[in-house]
């Protein structure tokens, strides 16, 4: 609320410091950033002259340009899709809103590389769609193929964050603007947009970092970006050069994080009634529904249909070694659940501190937790292989500790972002009231703030759960020897052209992740 924000500004002068919390946050940031040391260690092993040649080569410049192009295109397109969908499902009288909300959010549960498998099988002059309709279809591949696939499976980050902000923002402000004769567009631009801008920026940041760290899709679409080049160098056993490329990727990430920190400056979007007046779609109802349905068909129906075809037609030779067992699904859920719980535990102090404190350190620690999200899983994986085998051999590849840690390093920012936003939305007067009633800071947090931010924390946990379910490279490197999960089975079976065995675990992955997505959306509606 406006008054609320004003209070906050006037309070900014009296600095509240959180020494204990700062230390805890710092330790968490240090912990999750520690695998990056390995990158520096390895990159330093490259002979400086050679390092110079490699870094300043035409090829590296090309990789940088392509990577940036991919990241920017995916981010812009994701906002272009995610934001209108968020408005459509929160502010309009779109029929069956709940259903369309689910459709719009679900693509996030499908790993983009699985989307890429499906799109390549479905489209192109020899694809399934062509043989079904008898019309030649264009290929989905190359740079724009990768942009398309990654966008379609990551725009939900923007959709979800923008939607949450729209739901919690005080919509009566828009009505006030309208009574002051602002037209709809101007009301959006001057009232709504500034309030949801940080949320859009937060979603766009996750999209951008995902896009630049996604490996499967660019490699599959034959596009040379940082991740595919890093993977290629790993495959060619040039670990040092891969580390050098990773450092460059980190530099890009640092810049992205700085940009977001400026665009996404906090506006206190907390607020009263989410009601406010709806936009009446009128005859635009049908095109609107058609658009959401179209995106749903492309992102959800196409892969599910392709997997169905693989199973029903029994495509690929028989190989009982790939037979599905429920244990694999349980392993996936167990790992993803652990990662989600630990990420939430880490996210609460970091997210809380960065939303409450004005200190540079608080901001820095929060930013540091994002870095792992931009680094390809194989880099984090190999860093922990090195650390695990040489310093903690008794847990290395025996239990799940290192693997879960790798997941937390990779996916923590999703929980931090979501926690932070929800703390910002807590009405400051409630904890203040508790303090005046002589509750200590910790007790206030436990009895007042925590229950209020719980939905946000859980939402972050669900995102961590979803992405962990999909993660592949670190899983392959760090899983206890002999432990199989849904994605490792998909990877093995698809990689050897045993498609029918890849399809079932892929469908189960989508169903389980889909159910967790429902939890996320249900919570928001309350």
């Amino acid at each position: 609320m406006a008054s609320n924000r004003f209070e906050k500004l006037s309070n900014a002068g009296e600095k509240v410091s959180y020494p204990g919390l700062t230390i805890i946050s710092g330790l968490i940031a240090l912990l999750v950033a520690s695998p990056l040391l390995w990158i520096v260690l390895r990159a330093l092993q490259v002979n400086p002259t050679r390092a110079g040649e490699l870094v300043f080569s035409a090829r590296t410049a090309g990789i940088l340009l392509t990577s940036l192009g991919l990241m920017v295109s995916v981010t812009v397109l994701s906002v272009a899709i995610g934001l209108p969908l968020a408005i459509l499902t929160t502010r309009t009288n779109l029929p069956f809103r709940r259903f369309w909300t689910i459709v719009a959010a679900l693509p996030l549960v499908i790993p983009s590389y699985i989307g890429a498998f499906a799109f390549v099988s479905a489209f192109g002059p020899y694809g399934e769609v062509s043989s079904l309709l008898g019309v030649p279809m264009p290929h989905v591949r190359g740079f724009w193929g990768a942009v398309l696939v990654i966008t379609l499976y990551t725009y939900p980050y923007v959709f979800l964050t923008a939607r949450a902000a729209l739901l919690s923002m005080d919509a009566s402000l828009v009505d006030a603007a309208r009574t002051l004769n602002a037209d709809r567009f101007e009301a959006f631009r001057r009232v709504t947009f500034p309030q949801i801008r940080p949320a859009i920026a937060a979603g766009a940041l996750l999209t951008a970092l995902y896009a630049i760290s996604d490996f499967g899709t660019p490699a599959f679409m034959h596009v040379e970006v940082f991740t595919s080049a890093i993977y290629w160098e790993f495959g060619a056993l040039n670990v040092e050069y891969a580390a050098l490329l990773s450092l460059q990727l980190l530099a890009v990430t640092g810049i992205v994080l700085l940009i977001e920190a400026n665009v996404g400056r906090d506006e206190d979007a907390s607020g009263g009634t989410p009601s406010g007046s709806q936009i009446r779609l009128g005859r635009w109802k049908w095109p609107a529904m058609g658009t959401v349905a179209g995106i749903g068909i492309l992102t959800l129906a196409v892969p599910i249909a392709i997997f169905g075809v693989w199973i029903v037609r029994g495509i690929g030779a028989e190989a009982s070694t790939y037979a599905f067992e429920w244990e694999y699904a349980l392993n996936s859920v167990y790992l993803a659940g652990l990662a989600a719980v630990i990420a939430c535990t880490f996210a609460i102090p970091v997210g809380y501190l960065s939303s409450q404190s004005e200190s540079i350190l608080a901001r820095l620690f929060e930013r540091v937790t994002y870095v792992g999200f931009a680094v390809p899983g194989i880099v984090i994986g190999l860093a922990l292989v090195f650390f695990g085998a040489n310093y903690v051999p008794f847990i290395y590849r025996e239990g799940v500790v290192l693997l879960v840690f790798a997941y937390v390093v990779r996916f923590l920012p999703q929980a931090v972002g979501s926690t932070r936003t929800s703390v910002l939305q807590v009405d400051d007067r409630l904890p203040e009231a508790a303090r005046t009633l002589n509750a200590g800071r910790l007790e206030t947090f436990r009895r007042v703030t925590l229950p209020l931010i719980a939905p946000g924390v859980v939402a972050g946990g669900v995102l961590v759960f979803l992405t962990t379910m999909k993660e592949l490279p670190a899983t392959l490197m760090l899983q206890p020897i002999g432990m199989e999960t849904l994605v490792t089975l998909i990877w093995s079976a698809h990689g050897t052209a045993h498609y029918r065995y890849a399809a079932l675990p892929a469908l189960i992955l989508v169903v389980i992740s889909g159910l967790s997505m429902l939890v996320l959306l249900r919570q928001e509606d309350v």
């Binding site: 090829r59 390549v120 192109g124 020899y126 490699a219 599959f220 034959h222 040379e224 595919s228 080049a229 993977y231 290629w232 160098e233 790993f234 495959g235 060619a236 056993l237 040039n238 670990v239 495509i315 690929g316 028989e318 190989a319 009982s320 070694t321 790939y322 037979a323 067992e325 244990e327 694999y328 392993n331 167990y334 194989i378 190999l382 292989v385 090195f386 085998a389 040489n390 008794f394 847990i395 290395y396 590849r397 025996e398 239990g399 799940v400 490279p473 392959l476 490197m477 899983q479 206890p480 020897i481 002999g482 432990m483 199989e484 490792t488 093995s492 990689g495 050897t496 052209a497 045993h498």
Partner: protein, 380 residues
């Protein structure tokens, strides 16, 4: 070159027989394993690196004559699960007290892991697709010399001259082609022609991220010199506009669907597709006595830091014994590395295809090949 039927119908029956015993669960939730790691777990059940019973010999011995396998062996496998898991299961069925902890990953990732782990690798055995990685392992000082009888048993061409790794089965690089577009007899038997012939422009593909492809480039540089190799790579990328795949199965799939017409790669990807659909318009042919027809081995090394070198040695004897070799021939359509095992599959025998004679240890030095590929832009 003649056309060869890839379908290998006999193999399906064999495979079923192997698997009839049921597909044992590969995955176990190894949370309880922590204590093992602390205390070093169970000991290597064997006393010495010597043969436990019969020694491996150059004319294959039977599993019955070898020592029993017992205990738990940890294997990092860069061979794919479908190709090697049935053999592991067969061994586990044969010996009640024997289990293999298997870890599957790509060859590059697997070797990168071992290099980071160094002496502390949990693996006893590294089992991989191509001798290039084995040679690299040796160069890093992480492989252990194999027992003398194993070294003596395997043909010199198929093992390390210092005895630090051995081939387990052989495979040959091939040219996969779409039979609607080409007749095998009309295809060149010279790998250089594939970079020059205009018929292949825009319809030829390769897969530069695989270990066997790297080996192929190393061999070409060794045999034909760096300039000729660079020209081949350049011409493939620029003149022929070759499509670069990151997966061998997608590459073969594209030829089978008609989207591509020629694929340079390993022949077994095509084999699988034809196995599934005998009508698929897909076949293989071979170049003659050049790097395009490089005979390479999949093979094993026992790690320097292995906890159970003796069990690993006895396992290796089983691989090169008669039943092990038969498995590769029957189930995978690969070539044996030990005399006395006949190749009976549908592919031509080694005498018929004229592969390049080549010291496989030279495949360990991939760096110049990788630099060349990077410089010419053949990277995916």
């Amino acid at each position: 070159m003649q056309r060869h039927d890839l379908s290998g119908r006999g193999t399906t029956i064999n495979r079923r027989r192997f698997l009839g015993a049921g597909s044992a669960a590969v995955g176990t939730l190894a949370v309880a394993g922590c204590l093992d790691g602390l205390g070093g777990g169970d000991e290597d059940p064997f006393d010495s690196y010597e043969p436990q019973e019969a020694a491996a010999e150059s004319s294959a011995v039977s599993w019955d004559d070898l020592g029993d396998l017992e205990g738990e062996l940890t294997i990092y496998s860069a061979r794919t699960q479908d190709q090697i898991d049935p053999l592991f299961e067969k061994l586990e069925d044969e010996y009640d007290d024997f289990t293999i902890k298997r870890d599957y990953d790509d060859e590059g990732d697997q070797l990168a892991s071992i290099l980071e782990e160094g002496e502390n690798s949990p693996a006893d055995v590294f089992y991989t697709q191509s001798s290039g990685e084995l040679a690299r392992l040796k160069d890093e000082g992480l492989a252990r010399e194999l027992p003398e009888d194993v070294i003596d048993a395997v043909d010199d061409n198929y093992r390390d001259s210092d005895g630090q790794w051995t081939g387990a089965s052989g495979r040959v690089r091939a040219v996969q082609y779409n039979t609607d577009h080409f007749d095998g007899d009309d295809l060149p038997d010279d790998i250089f022609a594939y970079a020059e012939d205009e018929r292949f422009r825009d319809v030829i593909s390769t897969r530069p991220n695989s270990g066997t492809f790297h080996s192929f480039i190393v061999a070409m540089m060794e045999e034909e010199g760096e300039d000729a190799t660079r020209e081949w790579v350049r011409a493939m990328v620029e003149d022929q506009n070759a499509t670069l795949y990151s997966s061998g199965s997608d590459q073969a799939e594209a030829v089978a669907s008609g989207e591509q017409e020629i694929a340079l790669g390993n022949q077994y990807y095509a084999g699988r597709i034809v196995d599934d659909d005998p009508d698929a318009p897909l076949d293989v042919t071979f170049t003659s006595n050049d790097p395009g027809c490089l005979f390479n081995v999949s093979g094993v090394a026992i790690l320097e830091g292995a906890d159970k070198p003796n069990l690993a040695a006895e396992f290796t004897r089983h691989i090169i014994a008669e039943q092990g070799q038969d498995f590769f021939v029957d189930v995978n359509g690969e070539y044996p590395v030990v005399d006395g095992v006949e190749y009976v599959g549908e592919l031509p025998t080694l005498d018929e295809i004229d592969p390049l004679e080549f010291d496989l240890n030279k495949l360990g030095d991939v760096e110049p090949a990788i630099d060349l590929l990077r410089e010419e832009g053949m990277t995916v």
